[in-house]
Symmetry: C2
Subunit: 635 residues, 2 copies
């Protein structure tokens, strides 16, 4: 360290900070475009162009459909689909991710925005962005590690089922409001007499075609072989693009059918507001039946959404980033910066909350994207569609949009994770099903809280009730117990101290006679807190009162400091002579040569019995059975 | 296990359960009076009589004073002071504890009972009893281990300061309402012009006398010496009794002074309802300004109190029990049964919520109580006082009662724990001060929640971010790194897996060349969950992709099962031959003889280089750098 650090002037410190802040490394980290743009070449351009176009053709029908999921008019889905792509190009650290409207974010937006008023959705987008950005600034990224995979699986599956069941009405050509899965099905059966058969037929056909086209890209026929001729190669690539662009194709074809059919044959999307959204500040007040609602009231109306939506946004985006990172550790903080900025700037073009989309990120990746620049192509395509194609969007049949959504989400139901979770750890089924059922039958966001709660309870129970191995080590001549070895399998913190203390006491007064030495192996104690120290002090006092020797072995420096701070008369036996002496006096007529690694001591018992001279000054205090600490070899 | 256990009839199971339930051990455990009553003798009787009388003389003035703290008339304090003593005699497992009104329970009752209506306080007592009893039945006693000593210290100190500051108005002869500490002081300064000097003088004199008498019992003069004559011995005992009975003496003397003085000289307690309380069901409805309030509304009015009051009641009682258990482990469940029953039956004699009293338990213990039968003497004394002495209680000056309360609680401020907490673990200051300040400046019960939250956050941070030691082990000829040893210091669960994975990856691609073998020492992994298994699977895939060998050593069976369940191509090297073979093929030209105890391997490197025959069938898969598991020696 710098010897003059205390006398450094403030300007020096500011300069050093600034130097670090404006360093090349920080620039590369916080503005990842500076890493890849200098290396950009024609090959990157080709990959990015193809992938960007494909993602663009996917996001247009998805955006329209997800706007309906959010309870808004279709144009808001498209408004949400381009700003994220542009912003992520500059700030994103993962080439595959595409930011935009997603099924889960739409259903959350629907839940928290009031009366289908888009102003709430846009404000939520802006505030989510602010909160995500603030969380990144505060380095809160580590909090998402507390949401385990079973909880995510339960949540995603329940969300997929919720979304799919909410789309059944579109498929059947019905029109009703439903909030929950149960309500969606009960209303469906209530209204099933009003089914519009044209809609249902078109919807089911769309589903069948979508599923078949989805299968296409997994077939061998779409895989480019090394010995293919150029034409065959182009043909295969076309088939592949048809498969990944299936949503756009189905929507276009269904739109043409609807246009050609009589005007009331199918339930149509209807007029969409034409043109690009205005670039303006997000709405900090709105109108409800002629009354102006101010910012504070809007915020209180969206309630918990202001926390839940950013949380899920981060969760979804980071989960996708980890899945596509290809083994690299992802910079969660940078991803949060990027996501926050996408939402903040998105709100200026009337976007609803956005996050990374699993389906489109997969499309992007398989279409051969090379850099985040693919996003600019996607974004431009959406902008062009908004500028020139909105008049044609009104012919898109609602049943086909429902089919697109159902086919997208139904594969998100992670029924296949139940088995591996069972095999890895049965206990993890509890957070999985707890989350899933709470999400499905109560509320989506409560499910996550319940799941995290269950998970933490399991974790804390493990901390509070560590396994404690107790074994009696016999004397060499097997004339009786030499000492009782107690091995707690986990750390020593306030929730577990009573348990460990109880186990040690039981070992001391239990099977063995109450004067036998008890050795506590502290090799798993990573630290000790005040409550635990107090508990150990009481334990030492109990043993002293019974004149029973108590030894702590393999004590790390932190634990040693804690124990010594409260227990005045503890003996620290550092050298092997001192240890010998301490044991000799503590246990009456047998000597443990080596208690460092507790379990080996069983075989190394008794050496120089007698020989009181060598005991030195330690003998005298030992007679009162003062507790002994043996520090660890390798702290 | 019983081979026929599957075919045992239901009646057999019921019989076995019943046999266990009605066993002598269960009887002794659940009705502790059956343990000590058969051994009761004259010596026990003498100790219990003296202690019971002393506690009785303490509880009468305290009960009157604490009723005022609870915002009720003084008689309710006395109603609360006897039933607990009777019930605890049968059910209590700790001879010293006396159950009754306490300062903290009174202030909590004041906070949750509405409009000084005693019906709320009695209902709270009844419901608290039910909840404590139910918690005992559900075995929820372990939950209190999650409240650490620093949190308890912070809470107790803040409660003491709250109570003391709420009593200042009585000391100054003022009369105003205050909710918080700040309000108490600001109102005091507002109204200080109305101070009644007679009250203040009497109050201050009472405080001085109480503090002096308190000091008396610590002096040598009250300690019985072996060579004392009988008279001296009785004299010393009298002095000691005067010291512990100081509250009663000061209250009686002040009452006589007030009786002798003119009627409006001091602010007096005023008329107290005479006679014993009726034995009747607790009030399930009440009246407010002529409207009847039903049970459900009463419950919703007391709100969170229904959880907080039982919690604090248990907390206080168990804390006292641990302090006076003298090293024995206390049966928290039995204490909860006893406490629950004390509250349930107390509500039938119009008691407010009760719990173990720290001050009276200390008095009981130092007065030489032998069995819980001391409580019967205390209880009878209170009953006699209620029956015959209530007409005289009205002369007790309020200033003296305030003095009694202030002198009782002021020693509960645990300023002396700050230093030991600092010495044991600095970090524990955060829950201490977080609890203290929240209790003092927000609400008492939120303080406990905040403290527990901080404590759990610290604990979980340790679980989520375990220390990971990374060291590079050189080849024997020091020609370069042999392998990188990664030693996580804690378990592998979902919050920590990303961190550990990141550290292992960094160790693999970081300082060493990226083909060097990485050895993860799993000796501290007590278990593995699904999320962690998934993370380890990704880690293995990363290493396989880089053709870099990865070895897990000291793997316990549970962790092995988890890893193998998800990672198909993992190699388990069980015998030392297999381990040798695995290492030989994994690391190119050096062999680690013993990696069981990771840190010793540094010195035991390289033996039979070459010798490909001995590698056997393990060699071939090793070339693809499949991950290797080395199970632990002693699981």
């Amino acid at each position: 360290m710098n010897q003059n650090s205390n006398t450094r002037s403030v300007s020096d410190i500011v300069q050093a900070r600034a130097r670090k802040f404006f360093s090349k490394k920080t620039l590369h980290q916080r503005l990842p475009i500076t890493q890849w743009l200098p290396k950009y070449n024609l090959e990157s351009l080709e990959g990015d162009m193809v992938a960007g176009l494909t993602v663009g053709l996917t996001v247009i029908p998805q955006g329209i459909a997800y706007a309906l999921v959010a309870g808004l008019t279709p144009n808001y889905g498209l408004y949400s689909a381009f700003m994220g792509c542009f912003v992520y190009m500059f700030l994103g650290s993962c080439k595959d991710i595409t930011i935009g409207p997603t099924a889960i974010m739409s259903i959350m937006t629907h839940e928290y925005s009031v009366d289908k008023n888009p102003d709430y959705a846009i404000l939520l987008c802006f505030l989510s962005g602010i909160i995500i950005f603030a969380a990144a600034v505060c380095n809160l990224g580590f909090l998402i590690t507390f949401i385990s995979k079973p909880v995510i699986a339960g949540f995603t599956s329940a969300a997929a089922i919720s979304i799919a069941s909410s789309q059944l009405k579109g498929l059947f050509g019905l029109s009703y409001q439903s909030e929950s899965v149960i309500e969606a099905f009960s209303k469906l059966f209530e209204n099933i007499g009003d089914t519009r058969w044209q809609d249902l037929t078109l919807g089911l056909c769309s589903i069948v075609v979508l599923l078949l086209m989805r299968k296409l890209k997994d077939l061998k026929i779409t895989k480019v072989q090394p010995d293919d001729s150029t034409y065959v190669r182009i043909g295969r690539k076309m088939l592949f693009l048809i498969s990944v662009g299936r949503n756009a194709i189905v929507v276009i074809v269904a739109g043409i059918i609807a246009f050609a059919a009589k005007s009331d044959t199918f339930t149509l999307t209807g007029d969409i507001e034409a043109g690009l959204p205005a670039f303006k500040a997000p709405p900090f007040s709105t109108w409800d039946n002629g009354t102006e609602i101010y910012f504070s009231e809007m915020v209180s109306n969206v309630g918990a959404g202001i926390i839940i939506i950013p949380l899920i946004s981060i969760l979804e985006s980071i989960a996708i980033a980890s899945a596509f990172a290809g083994g690299k550790t992802i910079d969660a903080t940078q991803e949060m910066y990027a996501l926050g900025m996408c939402n903040i700037l998105g709100a200026f073009v009337q976007s609803i909350p956005v996050t990374g989309s699993f389906s489109r990120t997969a499309v992007n990746s398989t279409s051969g994207v090379k850099t985040p620049a693919g996003g600019i192509v996607t974004g431009l395509l959406v902008v062009l569609a908004l500028a020139f194609l909105t008049p044609y969007f009104k012919y898109i049949p609602k049943a086909t949009l429902s089919a697109v959504i159902i086919c997208a989400v139904i594969f998100m139901v992670e029924y296949e994770t139940v088995r591996p979770i069972w095999k890895a750890r049965q206990l993890d089924q509890i957070p999985l099903w707890g989350t899933f059922l709470t999400c499905l039958f109560w509320k989506l966001e409560f499910g996550i809280l319940v799941g995290v709660g269950i998970n933490l309870a399991i974790l804390l129970y493990g901390v509070a009730r560590p396994k404690v191995n107790v074994s009696t080590v016999l004397r060499k001549d097997e004339s009786g117990p030499h000492y009782v070895l107690v091995e707690p399998r986990s750390g020593l913190f306030f929730p577990s101290v009573d348990h460990i203390r109880g186990q040690v006491t039981k070992a001391g007064v239990g099977p063995a006679e109450s004067s036998v030495m008890v050795v506590v192996d502290c090799k798993h104690f990573t630290g000790i807190d005040y409550t635990a120290t107090k508990g150990m002090k009481s334990l030492c006092q109990d043993f002293e009162r019974r004149h029973q020797p108590l030894v702590f072995t393999n004590v790390t420096p932190g634990v040693e400091r804690g124990l010594c701070s409260l227990i005045d008369d503890i003996v620290i036996a550092r050298s092997s002579d001192q240890i010998d002496a301490a044991y000799k006096s503590a246990s009456s007529n047998a000597v443990a040569e080596n208690l460092y690694s507790g379990d080996e001591a069983i075989r190394r018992v008794s050496r120089s019995e007698g020989d009181p001279e060598s005991l030195g000054p330690l003998l005298e205090p030992m007679n009162s059975a003062r507790p002994i600490i043996v520090p660890a070899h390798n702290p």
